[in-house]
């Protein structure tokens, strides 16, 4: 979004349109949160002290800001994003990455989706946004910057609004840029790069990977090497994937035996897995929560190779975590939860033709168990290892207390 806070303010104060407007702390120690392009012509930028902004642009209208209002608009803007793709990663109130890979069939190619999003944001909220289109987050971010209006010689020059950096164009686009434009390049890195005579991305591309990792460290050097070539493997992580399914149970008496604890975990896992299957998903992450008798908590997660849909798969993930539980401290509560859902579908491959089902494949059994429970009730069937230890199968069967 362009000068998001200011743009929202202008919606309720249209009389300020065309004037230099600054949103931020107005007190003596205040800081600029956002500035209109008219104010930026005078050199006012966000994060500058309000006092300095006043000196640069004494005629600017200073507004204290209204975070609740901005959050409202942010939600409406995100609603537009979500209507184009479920894969939306919010970065700030006014900024998000949207993976439209799956939306192309529905809405047309990415650049066209960019234009549609911009039109919809304008018609639904009255706000102007800029869209950068590219095949990864790094390039998309830089493309969105190129889409924005610019200040050239003190004049506001409109930007294209939607700017696409195709993979073919990426090197032409990147090479003339200052290395400061690259993610993770701050003052210290710039100084180190200057020693190699590097000012632009084109200069940077002359350096070999080992030179960069030598100067900046393995991770940072390697990342910079890739970024200079427009490579960024980070996926868009959508917030909808944060949901989880879980059960936890407080025990009548603290548990001090690992075997007994595991029995409860098997039962909890079985119930969680049944809900996962009912939701027709598979879960990537399995979490274990332990509350000791002194009310201190232990939470640990494990991500098995394959997404889980069965109690057996959840338990085998928990078995990786269980050694971290200090059972002798007494466990008053245990919880099992799964998260990071994916579709529970497996595309079969040519290699599976004529092959036997793999060991430990409980999917078919789980489906049969679901069928049996549907017909004969929850207590009709269950894992043997969840029975015993004094707990009556009939009273607390498969859905544990909440």
């Amino acid at each position: 979004m362009d000068a998001f806070f200011v743009a929202v303010e202008l919606l309720r104060r249209p009389d300020l349109r065309g004037l230099p407007v600054v949103v931020g702390g107005t007190g003596s120690r205040g800081v600029v949160a956002a500035a209109s392009y008219e104010a930026r012509r005078f050199g006012v930028y966000s994060a500058m002290s309000s006092a300095q902004a006043r000196r640069l642009c004494p005629n600017a209208v200073f507004l204290p800001g209204d975070l609740h209002l901005y959050a409202d608009y942010s939600e409406r803007v995100h609603e537009v994003f979500n209507s184009f793709s479920p894969e939306v990663e919010g970065v700030a109130l006014d900024e998000a990455f949207i993976d439209v890979t799956g939306s192309v069939q529905l809405f047309g190619e990415a650049s066209s989706i960019g234009v549609q999003i911009r039109d919809r944001v304008l018609s639904d909220t009255g706000l102007v946004c800029c869209v950068g289109v590219a095949s990864n987050k790094f390039l998309a971010k830089l493309a969105s910057r190129a889409a924005k209006p610019k200040i050239v010689d003190g004049q506001i020059v409109d930007g294209p609004g939607v700017f696409e950096v195709t993979d073919d164009y990426a090197s032409t686009f990147l090479e003339p840029m200052s290395v400061r434009s690259l993610w993770g390049v701050g003052a210290a890195t710039v100084e180190k790069l200057e020693r190699f005579g590097v000012a632009t991305v084109a200069d940077l591309k002359q350096l070999e990977r080992r030179v960069l990792t030598g100067a900046l460290g393995q991770a940072a050097g390697s990342q910079l090497f890739d970024l200079a070539r427009g490579i960024d493997p980070r996926p868009v992580v959508s917030s909808r994937d944060a949901k989880s399914i879980g059960h936890e149970e407080t025990f009548a008496e603290d548990i001090i035996d690992l075997g007994e604890l595991r029995t409860h975990l098997v039962r909890l896992s079985d119930a969680v897995a049944a809900r996962v299957r009912r939701a027709d998903v598979a879960a990537r992450t399995v979490s274990l929560k332990i509350r000791y008798s002194d009310f201190s908590n232990l939470t640990r997660s494990f991500t098995p190779e394959a997404a889980v849909t069965t109690g057996q798969a959840i338990v085998s993930a928990l078995d990786r975590l269980l050694p971290q539980c200090e059972i002798e401290r007494g466990v008053r509560l245990a919880g099992v939860s799964v998260s990071n859902f994916v579709e529970s579908q497996v595309q079969l491959t040519l290699d599976t033709v004529d092959s036997e089902p793999s060991d430990g494949d409980w999917m078919d059994a789980a489906e049969a168990i679901d069928e049996i429970r549907k017909r004969f009730g929850n207590k009709s069937i269950g894992p043997l290892s969840a029975m015993g230890h004094g707990r009556d199968l009939g009273e607390s069967p498969w859905g544990p207390s909440h």
């Binding site: 793709s85 479920p86 579709e343 595309q347 033709v353």
Partner: protein, 362 residues
């Protein structure tokens, strides 16, 4: 080097070769060039990215013999933009000067001696019907694994007791096409040709009635009209299609091709992220079902004929559509065994083209 010709003739020839040019950022920048050579009254053009080369020869009014390598896409854009009529191309110093109508352009060039030409395969000509080969490519080439360095990134041309056949797979499905009358390759031979090159070839075909093929590993050359494409072959071979061809498919769905494609397109609306589309098949009716956690669901009864046992089977909707779209008859047969075994897609009345698709376990 200097020649004169009709703008349209030069533009057409450039359109054929230019897509083979490499990218400007490649380690060898000359690959972004198009090599143009005048010999008498003939102009040959060539673009290459070291793995493949496309050449084309056209008659021109040659004035001076010589070679030059201007930047391919730029040269192509300029020629396309000129007014119709005569165009003259001449080397002046280190530039190529292109003049047509009232316009003239100076285009910088690369060093011609840096341009490495992949020589055509040194083998005797074999030839096949170009139109039929183009049809076969259209049916098969889209199933190639679209990933550099993957062993399945090519179309396999083979000749065995059953005749000549094209095959492609991405490990999720396999497309096969017989060329019943073709005599290319010798019986027992097979060659794996990069899908990328064949997509270019498909675009070029047919420039003549016959397509000439010369194969001598590590390269294969295709010649149609005055254009030729030479590409490196891929070391290796695809899985044997016997496992599909010999399997039993006791349950058969017969349905109008357009009708099922339209239904699948509707189902696809709610399937952008999750790809599985379900078919519920029974002799009393056929139902399609598509659902996504976020985008809702759709159900639709299909007007179709089904013989066999009751069956629910899930497919990647894109894979299923891709297989059906290239069937050439009005109705299409989809034959299955069970929800875990491959299904076959055939035309109504022949099995020249067959498409085998692995279901999704849902």
């Amino acid at each position: 080097m200097k020649f004169r010709c009709e703008r349209q003739a030069l533009a057409d020839a450039l359109a054929i070769v230019v897509r083979a040019s490499g990218s400007r950022t490649a380690s060898s920048p000359v690959l972004a060039g198009v090599r143009i050579e005048v010999k008498g009254d003939s102009l040959s053009l060539a673009c290459t990215d070291t793995d493949q080369i496309i050449t084309c020869t056209i008659p021109v009014q040659g004035i001076n013999n010589g070679v030059s390598v201007p930047r391919a896409r730029l040269f192509n854009d300029i020629v396309r933009s000129l007014a119709d009529g005569a165009v003259e191309v001449e080397v002046v110093g280190e530039d190529v000067v292109v003049s047509g109508g009232r316009s003239n352009f100076n285009v910088p060039t690369y060093m011609a001696q840096d341009f490495q030409v992949l020589p055509p395969a040194a083998a005797p000509d074999t030839s096949t019907n170009a139109e039929e080969f183009a049809d076969a490519l259209r049916q098969v080439a889209r199933t190639v694994k679209n990933q550099d360095d993957h062993p399945y990134r090519g179309v396999q041309i083979s000749h065995d007791a059953d005749g000549v056949r094209l095959a492609a797979t991405d490990n999720f499905r396999m497309a096969l096409r017989k060329l019943p009358h073709s005599k290319i390759l010798a019986v027992g031979e097979k060659v794996l040709v990069p899908g990328r090159a064949l997509t270019e070839l498909e675009r070029m075909l047919p420039l003549s009635k016959d397509l000439v093929i010369r194969w001598a590993d590590p390269t294969i050359t295709f010649i149609t009209g005055t254009a030729s494409l030479t590409t490196r072959t891929i070391n290796g071979s695809l899985p044997d299609p016997k496992m599909f061809l010999d399997a039993q498919y006791p349950n058969t769905l017969t349905v109008n091709r357009e009708l099922i494609l339209e239904a699948l397109r509707r189902g696809k609306i709610v399937l952008p992220s999750s790809i599985g589309l379900k078919l519920h098949l029974s002799e009393s009716g056929v139902r399609m079902e598509a659902a996504d956690r976020d985008l809702g669901r759709t159900e639709e009864d299909l007007e179709a004929e089904y013989t066999g046992a009751d069956l629910s089977i899930t497919f990647n909707v894109d894979y299923l559509m891709a297989g059906i779209e290239v069937v050439e008859t009005e109705s299409v047969r989809i034959a299955m065994k069970d929800s875990r075994s491959p299904a076959a897609v055939w035309a109504a009345d022949n099995e020249d083209y067959s498409y085998f698709i692995m279901p999704i376990r849902a």
